[in-house]
């Protein structure tokens, strides 16, 4: 009897917590779908409108921002997959002087991430003339210690016998990498890719510093410019824009909820 009571109590508590947690987002969504006058006073039967989205979309070049973010993510994703794979492969398959020390040096980036070094990285980029370019946003993120670590851990689990069998069949270093190591790490590539997409879709500080013109702005910077300057603080517009810029990730999450969660876990735990 008390067990059932406990269950009901905890269940109610859980629902209240979930409700409270979802409240800010839910209210933002609600406002985005209703006319501006209802932003300040909630009425459950207020008329629904899509006008905010249309107006927000038309008052800032969001399509351009989306394209910029997509280009940025593609560059970072391809570069990371290639470069992190190469480094991890070297550390796992070969021995060389100071391997341990070098690996330690690479891992420093886990602690001192590019965000910490914005001052000097900005100077470097202005010296080589790459400020205000998409390549400039991507440059500090093209290799990552996290990716190298993740792939190294995975490559270490590849059985040596498979590697040797491929060598006996006459495969060189590149063939072994491509036919033995990479296929076995496929789930990790997927997991790492998802984490990277979500990271760079969300990244803000560095792109804010390095970009100046709308032609290269990613969505996060575009959204913040819109919210502070272009909307004239009309809350329903700001909320519509916020929702619009995050919708692709949210929709992807709702569709792939299970895989997403599983992959996030895999990327974190291994």
């Amino acid at each position: 009897m008390t067990r059932d009571l406990n269950r009901i109590l905890i269940g109610t508590l859980a629902l209240v917590l979930a409700g409270l947690w979802g409240l800010p987002f839910a209210y933002s969504v609600w406002t985005a779908f209703h006319p501006e006058i209802y932003a300040a006073n909630f009425k459950w039967n207020a008329p629904i409108t899509f006008g905010n989205f249309v107006e927000a979309w038309n008052s800032a070049p969001f399509a351009l921002y989306f394209v910029n973010t997509l280009i940025l993510i593609t560059i970072v994703l391809v570069a990371n997959f290639v470069l992190c794979t190469l480094v991890a492969y070297a550390f796992v398959r070969y021995r060389f002087r100071w391997a341990g020390f070098l690996f330690g040096l690479v891992m420093v980036q886990l602690l001192i991430s590019p965000e910490i070094l914005i001052v000097e990285n900005y100077r470097t980029l202005s010296q080589i003339g790459l400020t205000d370019t998409i390549i400039g946003i991507a440059l500090p993120y093209l290799t990552s210690a996290f990716g190298i670590f993740l792939l190294r851990q995975t490559f270490l689990t590849v059985p040596k016998s498979l590697d040797e069998a491929a060598q006996i069949e006459g495969a060189g270093a590149w063939r072994v990498l491509w036919t033995v190591y990479v296929p076995l790490a496929r789930p990790i590539y997927l997991a790492y890719g998802l984490v990277m997409i979500s990271f760079h879709w969300n990244n803000f500080l560095w792109p804010l510093i390095i970009t100046n013109s709308p032609e290269v702005r990613p969505v996060t910077v575009g959204l913040s410019v819109f919210a502070t300057v272009e909307s004239g603080i009309e809350w329903s517009l700001v909320n519509a824009a916020t929702l619009m810029t995050t919708a692709p990730l949210i929709i992807a999450f709702i569709i792939f909820q299970r895989q997403f969660v599983a992959n996030f876990m895999r990327a974190g735990i291994k």
């Binding site: 209210y27 190469l86 070969y94 040096l105 910490i116 969300n202 502070t228």
Partner: protein, 291 residues
């Protein structure tokens, strides 16, 4: 035994990719150290070696003292709170209660949103007179509070935003750990007469330790690394009450264009992170003996 790395292959596998990493991690860190010993150049005079003068300014900077206090409070409060909440959420989502998918969605959603979007949502939530916070307060007959405009509430408001954004992600890691705990361990404890509270503290929590370490390290680094919400919501104000260290670096360097002092602050930040890392390493090594 692994093969020796041939020189040519080593160049492609290691030197090329790592030079990018070095160029944007080690090189800027060292350059910050060098530049912190010089003053700013201007159009009519080149920069000049000033020794430790920038560091003396560091010691005399009252704003910096406030910023460091804010950062410390921010880290000390957000990290344990986010961890505690995320364990609670993971337990709820992992339970056999009805509606867990809704809870999972509600808890995890903020993690999917960019911090800039989260900042916009909360800016609206906190907006005095208009936002939901004010509407709820007035429903209870209380006066509305300008959460972001008061020195005593602005930092706490920022912490709430950070915890809201991060707890869902940590929940995922705890969920994974919870699901990997063998059921027979809990059953055994229950047979011995342990209640669910005891089972949690004596069986489940110790087994979650590796996850807690991983999450704590990440949360601490994020407490330093993420200032997007500060930039969007308060710009460190009012009166510096919500400025964090990285935000201060951003403001000094790109607001006041004081690159020399920005470099000095960067050195300070790297040193702090180094000390924290060494401390964590030491704590973890000590704790490892108990296992």
């Amino acid at each position: 035994m692994n093969k020796r790395l041939p020189l040519g292959l080593g160049f492609v596998l290691l030197v090329l990719p790592c030079s990018l990493l070095v160029a944007f991690t080690h090189y800027p860190a060292i350059k910050a150290l060098v530049n912190s010993l010089w003053n700013n150049s201007s159009s009519f005079r080149p920069s000049r070696f000033v020794g430790l003068e920038n560091y003396r300014a560091l010691l005399e900077d009252d704003r910096l003292a406030q910023v460091l206090t804010n950062s410390t409070i921010y880290a000390i409060c957000t990290v344990p709170l986010a961890i505690g909440l995320s364990i609670g959420m993971a337990l709820l989502v992992n339970s056999k209660l009805p509606g867990t998918w809704l809870m999972r969605l509600s808890f995890f959603m903020p993690t999917m949103l960019p911090l800039v979007a989260v900042a916009n949502i909360w800016l609206f939530f906190y907006a005095p007179g208009i936002g939901l916070a004010s509407q709820i307060l007035s429903a209870f007959g209380l006066p509305s509070i300008n959460f972001l405009g008061r020195t005593d509430t602005s930092l706490v408001s920022m912490m709430v935003v950070a915890i809201w954004k991060e707890a869902g992600l940590f929940m995922i890691f705890y969920l994974a750990a919870l699901q990997s705990i063998p059921a027979n361990l809990k059953d055994a404890a229950r047979l011995e007469g342990a209640g669910s509270v005891r089972v949690f503290f004596d069986v489940v929590l110790p087994l979650l330790r590796p996850t807690t370490i991983f999450v704590a390290v990440n949360a601490l680094i994020n407490a330093f690394r993420l200032v997007d919400h500060i930039i969007v919501m308060t710009r460190g104000g009012p009166n510096n009450s919500s400025a964090l260290l990285l935000y201060y670096v951003y403001e000094v360097t790109f607001g006041h264009r004081d690159f020399a002092y920005g470099a000095t602050l960067t050195v300070l930040m790297v040193v702090i992170l180094g000390i924290l890392a060494a401390f964590q390493f030491w704590v973890l090594n000590r704790k490892a003996h108990y296992q």
